[in-house]
């Protein structure tokens, strides 16, 4: 029997049992949909982070402490910052940074968050958005002005619908005037959760909250640096490393690290890749379940259609013809299920994309994989029921009621 005739017979058999055909596909539809969606989310997440980093700029270099518990460790200090500013030629801007957990109180409400000691240079470098009010100035840093810029979430918890700017809050029991509200900027791996931040002039934080006095100056958490427009990040990294080794008299291992946004991006990408693979793999398990579902229902279908199969054999259908018919049915069901699943995955990806900042990205390879796998699943799980059908004894089959 020619192929297209076999396919016609299978199609009409599937169409005759529309509801059951659809139910048979269901497992596979969900499985394929899940794979498409999960991979799309994974890829979308990678893209999301990449875009966030783009806004940070790839010309920012971060200097931090490393190996605090080692002998001979020296923390980063304000003196280091001053030295970097004057002695590293490729750096255009420098921003010292220190942070500590703290608590803010306003009237009867209190909220915990993170105190940041920073300078306007950091605000410029990382481009903090001002939702309300303003950031403090260089002058206010020098005058140790008791002002604070709150993260949006923390501000909301304290003030609710009330206007926060101009109010006086207690930060760790010390009164500070709220001058502005900011929000989480793009992924800033080194900063932490800015939404719950209390940003104050670094001088104030050093004076009132973190003593940090060392023989080498006031302790710092991080030092952010921006490369000059004509200088590369590599140059800055090299110069900073050199200077810091000198200043900290490093003989063996460095007690600091120099990070770039590119490094963070790379790290994140490798994590995201593993996560995407993991998500895809989990979803792929549901494909196997979908395949077993196909096999189950095909077996039921063979039992139910015993009489039909017997009749076809009595009328001259050979074992190969019956085998072919049932395998084609299984493969058609799977491929159709794959296509529906694809539509489901694409649809869900669209919906998620419309309601969240994360835009799932459906990749071509995941589509081919889904369609290929579904066809393969149908073939693999269709063979067993089809063989059972082909081997039915026509006498017994015709006798069944």
């Amino acid at each position: 029997m020619p192929w297209f005739e076999s396919i016609q017979v299978s199609v009409s058999a599937l169409w005759a049992n529309r509801l059951r055909s659809l139910l048979t596909m269901l497992g596979l539809i969900i499985g394929i949909g899940a794979v498409i969606l999960m991979v799309a989310i994974g890829v979308g997440a990678q893209r999301y982070v990449k875009d966030q980093f783009k806004s940070l700029g790839t010309n920012v270099v971060v200097l931090g402490s490393d190996g605090e518990q080692r002998k001979g460790f020296r923390p980063l200090t304000t003196y280091d910052a001053a030295a970097l500013e004057t002695q590293v030629p490729s750096v255009s801007k420098i921003a010292p940074f220190i942070a500590e957990n703290g608590r803010a109180v306003w009237k009867s409400k209190n909220a915990s968050g993170r105190m940041y000691g920073i300078t306007p240079a950091l605000v410029e470098m990382l481009d903090f958005p001002v939702l309300k009010g303003r950031f403090f100035t260089e002058k206010e840093v020098q005058e140790r002005a008791r002002v604070v810029v709150l993260g949006q979430e923390l501000s909301g918890e304290l003030f609710g619908a009330e206007e926060p700017v101009g109010k006086e809050v207690l930060v760790q029991g010390q009164p500070m005037t709220v001058i502005g509200v900011t929000k989480q900027i793009a992924f800033k791996g080194y900063l932490g959760y800015v939404e719950r931040g209390m940003m104050m002039p670094i001088t104030v934080v050093h004076e009132r909250y973190i003593a940090g006095n060392t023989p080498f100056g006031l302790k710092l958490g991080l030092i952010f640096m921006e490369a000059k427009p004509d200088a590369s990040v590599e140059e800055v990294t090299f110069q900073v490393t050199n200077l810091m080794r000198q200043r900290h008299q490093i003989m063996g291992q460095d007690d600091f690290f120099v990070g770039t946004s590119q490094q963070v991006l790379d790290t994140f990408n490798s994590i995201a890749l593993v996560l995407t693979a993991l998500l895809g793999f989990t979803a792929a398990i549901s494909l196997v379940v979908g395949g077993i579902n196909i096999m189950n229902i095909m077996l039921v279908s063979v039992t139910e259609r015993t009489r039909e199969i017997g009749l076809r054999k009595a009328l001259g259908a050979t074992e190969e013809v019956i085998l072919t018919q049932f395998i084609i049915e299984a493969v058609l069901i799977s491929i159709l299920g794959g296509i529906f699943g694809l539509a489901l995955g694409l649809g869900l990806a669209q919906i998620i994309g419309a309601f969240s900042p994360l835009k799932p990205e459906v990749t071509t390879w995941s589509i081919w994989l889904a369609v290929g796998v579904s066809g393969g699943v149908g073939l693999f799980f269709g063979v067993f029921p089809a063989r059972r059908a082909a081997r039915l004894d026509p006498i017994l089959a015709l006798r069944t009621d």
């Binding site: 005739e5 076809r312 054999k313 009595a314 009328l315 001259g316 050979t318 074992e319």
Partner: protein, 228 residues
């Protein structure tokens, strides 16, 4: 000679004991004969029909169908023999419920490898032959029992078989429609078709020109009717 059965034996193994169903049947049927095979249940007539219809093979003996020894044929070729040489008619009609009359009749032609145009042509001609030319696209559920059996007869005839093999063809029909089917059989036989009818109904048997009686797996009588 269309059918020649020689020393046909069929033994089933049941719980490690051999149960002989057919105990050496010798039977020849010539072209154009109209034979009824009769016998009480358990006489082996169903087994004999399955063997004649190439649905089953004998344990020993030989079966010549149109000078081919089908007793030793491979299953793959048996399917072809069923397709080309034998037209089956069942008690329960056995039509595909979701296919219309035309598609049901055309099914054996599909397995014979005919093109779709020729299948349709032949199936239409067959349905016209059995008087259902105006029911081509009815589903079996839209046809009466007698009409369904006539569709089944058209299906049995489409590949121009050597014999028409009917198993209790009127068993599911009332007397009047049963007579109609038997009238059709007679017409076909007059046109030269060889007919073998398996039945336990004496009235059905009496319409045939020869009655072969089975009892306990053996031929009891073989009576040629006297044509008046």
């Amino acid at each position: 000679m269309v059918i020649r059965l020689e020393e046909i034996r069929k033994i089933y193994r049941l719980n490690q004991t051999d149960v002989p169903i057919l105990k050496g049947i010798d039977l020849t049927i010539d072209k154009g004969e109209y034979v009824a095979i009769m016998g009480p249940s358990g006489s082996g007539k169903s087994t004999l029909m399955n063997i004649i219809g190439c649905l089953d093979q004998p344990t020993s003996g030989s079966y010549w169908l149109n000078n081919y020894n089908v007793a030793t044929m491979e299953r793959k070729f048996l399917a072809q023999v069923r397709n080309r040489q034998i037209g089956f008619i069942f008690q329960q009609f056995n039509l595909l419920p979701r296919a219309d009359a035309l598609e049901n009749v055309a099914l054996p032609a599909l397995y014979a490898g005919l093109g779709s145009k020729e299948r349709k042509q032949r199936a239409t001609a067959m349905l016209e032959r059995v008087g259902l030319g105006d029911r081509l696209h009815n589903l079996p559920s839209q046809l009466s029992g007698g009409q369904q059996q006539r569709v089944a007869i058209a299906r049995a005839l489409i590949n121009q078989p050597s014999i028409l093999l009917a198993d209790e063809p009127t068993g599911a029909l009332d007397t009047r429609t049963g007579q109609e089917v038997l009238n059709l059989f007679e017409e076909l036989n007059q046109e030269g078709l060889t007919l073998v009818v398996i039945t336990h109904d004496q009235e059905v048997g009496d319409r045939a020109h020869r009655i072969v009686r089975l009892r306990d797996g053996m031929l009891e009588t073989d009576l040629q009717a006297v044509l008046v």
